[in-house]
């Protein structure tokens, strides 16, 4: 099977997952996601000779997607690869130790278990945090795979995942108790 056929088949099989990931990377902006997907397709076409192991095709496609996205972001605004908000190891361990579970987390979430609300909470996250939580928790990549895709250290991925989940939980709890939030404000 030649490269052209491989590219077509790969994109046919994974396009839905790549598109929804592009949509999340772009914060729900469909026009940006569509442009990103088209650029991805052309990069995949040009790089198809680099795919040696078919079993790794999914990870390979997502790596190209995330790096294409990062390149676009970087060209728009120069930024360090490790964000200023990333916790160093010591701060991360301290944050882990200070985690407090809500009394009944399931209760807080049960009224929020709709795609629309989860989508809104996800799209409200910082882009770096959103990329990590999407790749790890939704698409199921291991933290080391996400680190390679995003070109950051594994510890940074762990830190961002922690922060993303914490921010997401806070957003969902706030959305679940709008009255309490208003009263507390």
């Amino acid at each position: 099977m030649d490269n052209g056929r491989v590219v077509e088949d790969l994109l046919s099989e994974h396009l839905d997952a790549l598109y929804r990931t592009a949509l999340r990377l772009c914060g729900g902006r469909t026009a940006d996601a569509e442009d990103l997907i088209q650029e991805l397709a052309l990069r995949v076409f040009r790089k198809s000779h680099e795919l040696r192991e078919p079993a790794a095709a999914r990870s390979w496609l997502f790596t190209i997607l995330t790096r294409t996205h990062l390149n676009r972001v970087r060209s728009a605004r120069r930024r360090p690869e490790v964000g200023a908000h990333d916790l160093d190891e010591q701060a991360f361990e301290a944050a882990l130790a200070s985690w407090r579970s809500p009394e009944r987390p399931d209760y807080a979430f049960e009224r929020l278990q709709t795609s629309e609300r989860v989508t809104a909470a996800l799209d409200g996250l910082d882009p770096d945090l959103r990329a990590v939580i999407w790749l790890v928790d939704v698409e199921g990549f291991r933290q080391r795979e996400a680190a390679a895709m995003l070109e950051v250290p594994e510890g940074t991925v762990a830190s961002r995942l922690f922060r993303a989940r914490r921010a997401l939980r806070e957003a969902m709890v706030a959305a679940a108790h709008p009255m309490a939030r208003r009263q507390g404000a």
Binding site: G4, E8, E13, R20, L42, S101, R165
Partner: protein
């Protein structure tokens, strides 16, 4: 450590010690339970928008253009040419093209038929979805194609599944049947003004030999083709059930 390397993780003395600690620590258990619950909610409720048909079309159009811009013999244009060439070789010099209700088929149709035959022979039983449920197959294809798909019920043929393919960047749905022990592929593809000469309603064009027979027609706004290692008569019989147009059935 356990946080950074969720299960399944390599078993080391450190991970064993950490796991032992978690088993006896209510706070750690609550922490992990909390995060696992959140991750489960995400997995269950995260938006999973399929790629819209126009995005899928745009991607394959871009691939088609990219292939056409590469050197001769490379890329998608070259691939289509090679597929056609391989199919012509496979099918052999005895490839005969016939047209029901007409007198000849032009070169474009000859190449398109060869491409269908080549794809059928190459793909074999490599299905993206295996199902005998017409509704399920139709829903799967509808999610992925820019045009509505009719999945016909064909007497004596068992529905096996579906897959996608593309010809010169034009996406096509392929519904696969098993009849007389042989796999038969039904191709559904939007027509292109620059592609094979348009057929009159209920005209059928076909060709092939013992390697793979192909029949193709246009109807319902789509190009249809059946390819398989069965007789032309069998394919024409199957074609009667592939288009829900009584006039076409009569003429086939």
């Amino acid at each position: 450590m356990l946080w950074a390397e969720p299960a399944p993780r390599p078993v080391t003395p450190d991970t064993r010690a950490a796991e032992a600690h978690v088993r006896g620590c209510a706070a750690c258990q609550a922490f992990f339970h909390d995060h696992e619950a959140l991750a489960a909610i995400l997995r269950r409720h995260a938006p999973r928008e399929p790629a819209p048909p126009h995005v899928r079309r745009r991607v394959f159009d871009a691939l088609g253009r990219a292939g056409a811009q590469t050197a001769p013999g490379a890329g998608l244009a070259g691939r289509l040419g090679r597929v056609a060439a391989v199919a012509v070789v496979v099918i052999g010099a005895s490839l005969g093209v016939w047209l029901v209700g007409g007198t000849s088929a032009d070169e474009q149709w000859r190449h398109q038929l060869s491409a269908f035959a080549g794809d059928h022979l190459e793909a074999g039983t490599d299905l993206a979805i295996a199902s005998s449920n017409r509704t399920e197959i139709r829903a799967w294809l509808d999610e992925r194609l820019a045009f509505a798909v009719h999945v016909p019920r064909i007497p004596n043929a068992e529905l096996e599944g579906a897959r996608l393919c593309a010809f010169a960047g034009r996406p096509a749905g392929v519904v696969c049947y098993r009849i007389d022990g042989q796999l038969v592929s039904l191709y559904l593809m939007a027509p292109d003004a620059a592609d094979p000469g348009r057929l009159e309603p209920a005209q059928l064009v076909g060709g092939g030999d013992a390697a793979a027979e192909v029949v193709a027609w246009e109807g319902g706004g789509l190009v249809h083709a059946l390819a398989g290692r069965v007789t032309p008569t069998r394919l024409r019989d199957m074609a009667r059930y592939c288009l829900d147009v009584p006039a076409a059935r009569r003429r086939f």
